[in-house]
Amino acid sequence: MTSILGLILLSLALGVCALVAFLWSLRAGQYDDMDGAASRILFDDHPPKR
């Protein structure tokens, strides 16, 4: 019984992690430009960062 509860809590914690990760990526604008992301991966030299 305790092991089941522990496992349930563990699985929920993992689920929450995934939810938080999705919401974070959404906030960070990772889904804003799907077309651009597809071609961006082909640029090997990134513009200089400042």
Binding site: I4, G15, L26
Partner: protein
């Protein structure tokens, strides 16, 4: 002699040019040098050109009033969002970002390929923004700043809320379903009640907060409908979800029986996916329409009292201000001409094809194009007398009369909700009153009925088809802006076209003349290559690519000259006693040669005839209402094969004609582009505009179509009809499912796993059926 064929490509923009030349124009040559000078020459090896897109060709650009578009944060960082025209592929993104990234004060340069926007951030002087914009323009892209206020207004709160709700519902649905599967399997393998209750309790702990958060979009809409004493699809959804959850909670507390948390969560998750997709598809269509409008937008040049000029947004120009209207540019405000005289292209405003001469004292309207010399216009108050004000008044009348269109889904919900709730009530009474069951058991069975009938498939039936149809039209360049446009389009039985700019293309076309030497056309086109005058551009279109002559002088409003070679009006080139003009024309005179006359006529949009024929086959009658002279309306209507036409209509005439048709029981689709069409666009059951239309018309239109072909009209109606048929099929499927399952539920034979299976399979069936609309 034949025309020189385009055998080579411009090394910068890829436009076809004569053999031997490297560039099509000086701008491209400069852009090529700039790019190589920056050491970014790899751009050309990476570039994949899309012939369907605007070439990245540098063009003379307008000056912008950047101040209203730039926002500055506390750290002194300025940011600006611009629409980019000329993007071809990822290489353009790379070029722009790299070129800007090399500027020391630029801290952000990000091009969004999907929305075709550039986000620019820099530190230091605000006015440096103009230089940065100029830098990208030199590379061959056209940039138009977005108003900071308009961007803020467009921030998509609803979309964000829907996605968050969807994410939460998805999390809850997945985890509760895991627990439920454990319960279903455990029950058949002798799982004890203690473990089952514990699992139910955990499910409740996940489901309750998730449902109360993710269900809000539905609860809010249902509440609003009930307050207005209506029902919509969200009412049975909300009632179902809330009842199921409450009932399951009591069951869990009592430590007995079945819980339906999984059904409630999955239902919300499926519905939210549908809503998010729906919102995205239309949001994208709307954003694209906005982008296209922004790219045509230009600022107004205001003359300050001290004589200096500055660019300013048309909306912020106060009455009494003086503005300067250069040749080829749009007059941004209503006003009176103070200085200068020039022919004006008023086709967007009045529908008249032939240019009208404006002299001091003439009233001019926003949307007209100055074809001649620079004019000084005194901006008048946008008072009640202006054409624009009259159009706006008519639009308001039309919108107040239109009434609320009741969507198919809501019409179904009106019958569905009471029927379902009645069935549940009868089930309860039947078991409790007639069957002498306990109150609890009767309630349980009644709730099972509600769960089974909770309209998941029914609620997806319409939006799923709408999403797919919107996407399909979007790929074709047809932007569906309104949610109910598809259903209204499917019912259309009459189409009213405007003539100028709708049945015809905005640019005039050179009339073919077998007696003309093709070499004359090429020689004349060489003079016009640098001009923005519509006739000059039409001549260039007719001649094909030519090498521009150097040192051409343009005399605004009259013509072009190069030494003794002249191209322009008959008076300008010095032709004595010219034959009477029956349309716009240009004269070309060279020393010791006979003057050549180029006549221009309105050209039908591609596929105009076929579209009218297709509409006739679909049993849709077409007619023309135009503000132009009756003779030219009749000619164009005849060419298209339209029997019903009316010329010399004022905006009010058009409006009343459309109103009369609607009162006569017709479902009218109005297709128009001008300001004078705007009231009738609003009065019609549904409306379409080309992207070359006046801003007001495009804003009012339910559908905006890109490209020059008129077949967009018949195709949109065809897709709408097909979508409507599939929606009805979906609704029949969803109701059929209920007819099968409700008796089982009333008989008390439904268990939680059966409910979950029935709901998912009916939703999947409806979704699968919806895909047929893409064919």
């Amino acid at each position: 002699m034949t025309l020189p064929a385009a055998l080579a490509m411009c090394a910068h923009c890829g436009v076809g040019i004569e053999l031997g030349a490297r560039f099509c124009c000086a701008g491209c040559s400069a852009a090529f040098d700039t790019i190589n000078g920056l050491g970014l020459g790899q751009f050309y090896t990476r570039l994949v050109r899309d012939p369907a897109l605007v070439p990245n060709r540098p063009e003379p650009t307008d000056r912008w009033d950047l101040a209203r578009c730039v926002t500055t944060d506390n750290a002194g960082q300025h940011s600006l969002t611009l629409a980019v025209d000329g993007l071809q592929c990822g290489a353009c993104v790379w070029l722009i970002e790299t070129a800007l990234g090399r500027e020391p004060n630029v801290i952000k340069s990000r091009v969004n390929m999907t929305t075709r926007r550039l986000q620019l951030g820099w530190t230091g002087d605000v006015t440096d923004g103009g230089r940065l914009v100029g830098l990208v323009e030199k590379l061959g892209y056209r940039l138009v700043p977005f108003d900071a206020a308009r961007l803020a207004a467009a921030a998509d709160r609803t979309g964000r809320e829907l996605i968050w709700a969807m994410a939460v519902a998805g999390f809850a649905a997945g985890n509760v379903m895991l627990l439920s599967v454990a319960i279903w399997i455990g029950q058949s393998q002798g799982m004890g009640p203690a473990v089952r209750d514990a699992l139910h309790l955990v499910s409740a702990l996940i489901a309750l907060p998730a449902i109360s958060y993710a269900g809000r979009p539905f609860f809010r809409s249902a509440l609003a409908a009930l307050r207005a004493r209506r029902t919509n699809m969200d009412v049975p959804i909300s009632v179902g979800v809330i009842l199921v959850t409450t009932f399951s909670l009591f069951e869990t507390m009592a430590g007995a029986g079945d819980a339906y948390f999984d059904s409630a969560c999955t239902l919300l998750f499926f519905l939210l996916i549908g809503r998010v997709m729906d919102h995205r598809a239309r949001g994208r269509a709307r954003a694209t329409a906005e982008q296209l409008l922004a790219l045509r937008h230009s600022d107004v040049t205001v003359i300050a009292p001290d004589g200096t000029t500055e660019p300013r947004a048309a909306a912020s120009v106060a009455p009494g201000a003086r503005i300067l209207v250069a040749m080829g540019s749009r007059i941004g405000v209503d006003g009176v001409v103070e200085l200068g005289s020039a022919p004006l292209d008023t086709s967007l405003v009045t529908g008249e094809t032939l240019p009208v001469l404006a002299v001091p004292g003439t009233a001019v309207f926003a949307g007209t194009i100055n074809l001649g010399a620079t004019l000084t216009v005194l901006c008048t108050a946008s008072g009640a007398g202006t054409l624009l004000a009259e159009c706006v008044r008519l639009i308001e009348v039309a919108e107040s009369r239109r009434g609320r269109f009741v969507e198919l889904a809501d019409r179904v919900a009106r019958r569905y909700a009471p029927t379902v709730h009645l069935a549940a009530a009868l089930t309860f009474l039947g078991w409790w009153g007639l069957g002498h069951a306990t109150v609890e058991h009767a309630l349980l069975t009644a709730c099972a009925v509600l769960i089974i009938t909770c309209p998941c498939a029914l609620a997806l039936a319409v939006p799923a088809v709408q999403v797919l149809a919107t996407q399909r039209l979007f790929q074709r360049g047809i932007l569906l802006k309104s949610a109910t446009a598809l259903e209204r389009l499917a019912k259309v039985d009459a189409v009213v076209f405007d003539k100028t700019g709708t049945l015809t293309v905005p640019l005039p076309e050179l009339v073919a003349d077998p007696s003309r030497d093709p070499a004359d056309l090429v020689a004349a086109a060489q003079l016009t290559a640098g001009s923005r005058h519509p006739l000059a551009r039409a001549l260039l279109v007719a001649s094909g690519p030519v090498v521009a002559a150097e040192a051409v002088r343009e005399v605004p409003g009259r013509g072009m000259e190069l030494g003794d070679t002249r191209l322009g009006s008959s008076a300008f080139v010095g032709v004595k006693n010219p034959p009477p003009a029956d349309g716009p024309e240009l004269w070309f005179v060279r020393p010791n040669r006979r003057p050549v006359r180029f006549r221009f006529a309105e050209a039908l949009r591609p596929a105009a005839r076929e579209t009218i024929a297709t509409l006739a086959r679909m049993r849709i009658g077409a007619s023309v209402l135009s503000g132009d002279r009756s003779a030219s309306v009749s000619a164009i209507a005849g060419q298209c094969g339209i029997a019903a036409w009316q010329g010399e209509c004022t905006p009010v005439d058009k409006f009343t004609a459309v109103e009369a048709m609607r009162r006569g029981g017709r479902q009218v689709l109005m297709v128009g582009d001008g300001l004078n069409d705007a009231p009738s666009l609003a009065a019609a059951s549904v409306s379409m505009s080309p992207t070359s239309a006046a801003e007001l018309s495009q804003t009012i239109a339910d559908v905006v179509f890109q490209g020059s072909g008129l077949d967009a009209v018949s195709e949109t109606i065809a897709v709408a009809r097909r979508a409507e048929a599939i929606m009805r099929g979906n609704i029949a499927l969803a109701i059929g499912y209920n007819v099968l399952m409700v008796p089982l539920a009333m008989a008390g034979l439904v268990t939680p796993w059966l409910a979950a299976a029935a709901m998912s399979s009916s939703s999947l069936l409806v979704l699968g059926n919806s895909w047929r609309v893409r064919k």
